[in-house]
Symmetry: C2
Subunit: 142 residues, 2 copies
Amino acid sequence: MEEGDIFAPVFDAHGLLPVIVTAAETGEVLMFAHMNDEALARTIDTGEAHFWSRSRNALWRKGETSGNTLRVVEIRTDCDQDVLWLTAEMTGAGACCHTGRLSCFYRAVPFGAGAGGKLVMVHAERHFDPDAIYGGPSKTKL
Amino acid sequence: MEEGDIFAPVFDAHGLLPVIVTAAETGEVLMFAHMNDEALARTIDTGEAHFWSRSRNALWRKGETSGNTLRVVEIRTDCDQDVLWLTAEMTGAGACCHTGRLSCFYRAVPFGAGAGGKLVMVHAERHFDPDAIYGGPSKTKL
């Protein structure tokens, strides 16, 4: 498992695997999501990131609504094969987050002595208008 | 939640938050673990990464056995505040994985047309001897 070259992904009790996505160009963490076995198989087959939406209970090709797909550059598995790391290129508007921002991780958390507790905006800019793309407040943000 | 500057981390049903750790120097993903509220509070207070070990059901200061601690450079939260991304500097042997390797993500998964299925070793080198540090095969790899 830890030393071999056999890919044997370990899905959790819900049949899911956590997936970290980083940007090929900058290394920035773009998003965090889950894959089931079908999403993983489609990602491996097509080189396009697919996930399992836990909120919608449905297979999800990233960008199927917004056009902001993810082209896989590298897939890595961790020591105990229960997490994946995808390095990917963004297509479309260059935004990965459903809020229209480059990354879902657009706010920093203060830490250390005297940390005030207020989040600090790192990526304010929206690369698309989420209301226009997703049709207003919605849970189907693909 | 998504637009404000209030830090309101959303722990899962087990009281845990998934945490992605990347290397400040290279941007490489080093590890993936979980924090409970105490691990998060200690990380914020001390600037040293603390986690919750699900296998041992215990608070865990990364590197408390191996000496390979993580000095936090930045903490970010995602859009719905249920995942954290830590950027950190490694101390000690420069290894984050309990196998002695730089990163837990030391193997690549082939994908695309004709992908063979065999994992490809990316980081073979061990920066410490896990048996010497952890006293042989063990589940307490801190």
